[in-house]
């Protein structure tokens, strides 16, 4: 019963928050430091993660992950299935909160602010840290309404402003030319690759600082995959990108940094084995296990 009240309370709290929208769509309760560092891309660290452990109920899924995610760079997370790389990604925008019995230990600092802090505001965190899922998951709405969803949630009603955001986001997701005449058509009528780029446009529409991608190309054909990879290379000019992938070639192609996760044996939690510049990690891995994995000898 206590839990029910807690959830009801969170419902009410959320609503109060919505009823006090400020103008503009980049509103944060966290200090937004991106702009200060705009002229020095890549120098900052976006996420400081210290001794992060994750539990689902009694099961430990991740253990003592310590890693710094560089700003405006692409960081790839690789590792065999079940090594906790997706769970790790979901720690960064607190999507794990949705899992009943989930618990997090350690520190996750976004621009120096603890995201699991007592007054950590999950909704504004998720606006800063957008997420693209494994399977394209556009809403059963029109192309336009999919992109306008985030801004609408933030309280933007002005048609002209929405039109501008929609076009701008679709352009940045390299989708505008293909869908500009189909804005009123259902998003689910697009091809899989277009749907995934639409999902990226949907995330861009709320002006996030970080984009998390959870195996975004695993359901796509090579051509569509190529387009997403090209897009990521463009997006890192402005955004910090973390991509989980089971495809090592993809990690080697697109990322600047790579983190290798592994579970030693069945039932163990996932651990970070090695983290470093992608070139170095793939050509001269420091850890023997990394070498075995990238040369395809296990996993």
């Amino acid at each position: 019963m206590a839990r029910i009240f807690a959830v009801l309370g969170s419902l009410r709290g959320d609503r109060l928050l919505v009823e006090a929208p400020e103008k503009g769509i980049t509103r944060h309760r966290f200090p937004a430091r991106r702009d200060e560092r705009f002229d020095a891309p890549g120098e900052g660290i976006k996420f400081h993660i210290r001794d992060l452990s994750l539990f689902y109920g009694k099961r430990k899924v991740l253990e003592n992950i310590t890693i710094d995610i560089p700003e405006r760079r692409i960081t790839a997370v690789i590792g065999p299935s079940g090594c906790g790389k997706s769970s790790f990604l979901r720690c960064l925008n607190r999507m794990n909160d949705l899992v009943e019995g989930c618990r997090v230990e350690g520190e996750v600092l976004l621009d120096g602010e603890e995201i699991y802090g007592r007054d950590g505001d999950v909704t504004s965190l998720r606006r800063r840290v957008g997420m693209v899922f494994q399977k394209p998951n556009p809403f059963p709405k029109t192309v336009y309404e999919n992109v306008a969803f985030g801004p609408r949630v933030l309280g933007i009603k002005d048609r002209g402003v929405l039109d501008g955001i929609v076009e701008n986001s679709l352009r940045r997701a390299a989708l505008w030319e293909e869908v500009k005449d189909k804005l009123r058509e259902p998003a689910l009528a697009l091809s899989g690759g277009q749907q995934q780029r639409l999902c990226i446009a949907r995330v861009l529409a709320v002006e996030p600082e970080v984009i998390l991608l959870d195996e975004p190309c695993s359901a796509l054909d090579p051509v569509a995959t190529q387009r997403i990879e090209d897009l990521l290379a463009e997006l890192k000019e402005k955004y910090t990108i973390v991509i989980v992938t089971h495809n090592m070639q993809q990690a080697a192609r697109v990322s600047d940094y790579t983190a290798f996760f592994l579970i030693e044996k069945q039932g163990d939690p996932g651990r970070l084995v090695e983290f470093g510049e992608t070139g170095a990690l793939f050509t001269a891995p420091a850890d023997e296990r990394t070498e075995r994995y990238i040369t395809g000898r296990f996993g």
């Binding site: 394209p136 556009p138 949630v153 689910l188």
Partner: protein
């Protein structure tokens, strides 16, 4: 040879079963029409749809009862739908996983309560209560609406719950991951995606409310007069047929058939409406690859 004979037999048996059902339905409609013809011929449609019920003087108007049926049904839905939707949302979005089954059982049990029990509780508890509060007789559209609301809540809740559960969780995840609150996610993503199912649920609830007789009869009055307020006694089509069936002959009896026919047509219209609503279902399209 034996197999072929058996196949043939099974086919015939199934065909006969289907024919019997269809024929039965056709017979029902046929009899209702046939028996109402004297009323339409001798009294005339104008008389039948007037607001005066006085068989002794040759007045067979069913307008009062039609209004009673529509008003109590609307009342039941107005009271019941928000509660049922709230309950369905609670079951699917808020309740912890373990207690969901418990609440769902509760709702299903509510659906199993015989209507006579609800009518009895209405008659013994609800009507006196309304009587005290309003100073009227207590029976009437309000009491009937409340009883009907209790009856339609399980139907609407169960079907809305199924419709909401059928919404892929990836929609909610996408919405939450964009920083939408739970409430925004419910209102902007999940309810729209489930709206066909929810509409079908409301229409099914409506069907149940329109045809309900016993429970309504116990709290509606009864009286063959136009309701002047929500707490004045009146009648519905079903309760009027119930009260008059034993002691009517001739045109009066035929006019009861005409009422039944109107009720039947209302129910059929509802079913047609529901087919249209849920036929255009796009609640859970597969993500095409």
């Amino acid at each position: 040879m034996y197999v072929i004979r058996r196949e043939w037999l099974v086919k015939r048996v199934l065909l006969v079963t289907a024919m019997v059902v269809v024929l039965g339905l056709a017979l029902v409609v046929y009899f209702m029409v046939k028996e109402s013809i004297p009323a339409f011929k001798q009294a005339g449609p104008a008389n039948l749809f007037s607001s005066e019920w006085a068989p002794g003087e040759g007045r067979y108007g069913m307008l009062i009862f039609l209004v009673g049926t529509l008003a109590t049904t609307a009342g039941g839905l107005i009271l019941g739908t928000p509660l049922a939707l709230g309950l369905a949302l609670f079951l699917t979005q808020v309740a912890p996983r373990r207690s969901r089954a418990l609440f769902s059982r509760g709702v299903e049990t509510l659906a199993g309560i015989p209507s006579i029990v609800l009518g009895w509780l209405g008659f013994t508890i609800l009507v006196p209560w309304i009587r005290e509060l309003s100073g009227s007789s207590g029976s009437g559209i309000l009491a009937a609406s409340i009883v009907l609301a209790v009856m339609v809540i399980p139907t609407i809740t169960a079907i809305s719950r199924d419709a909401l559960e059928a919404v892929p969780s990836t929609y909610a995840q996408a919405s939450l991951a964009m920083g939408a609150t739970r409430w925004q996610t419910i209102r902007r993503v999940q309810l729209p995606a489930a709206k066909h199912g929810i509409l079908a649920a409301i229409i099914l609830g409506m069907g149940r409310a329109i045809g309900e007789t016993m429970a309504v009869a116990m709290v509606i009055g009864p009286a063959s007069v136009f309701p002047t307020s929500l707490t004045s006694p009146t009648h519905t089509l079903t309760t009027k047929i119930l009260m008059e069936m034993g002691e009517s002959t001739g045109v009066q009896r035929s006019s009861l058939f005409a009422m039944g026919l109107v009720l039947l047509m209302l129910a059929m219209a509802l079913i047609a409406l529901m087919r249209r609503v849920s036929g255009g279902r796009s609640a859970t399209p597969e993500v095409v690859e």
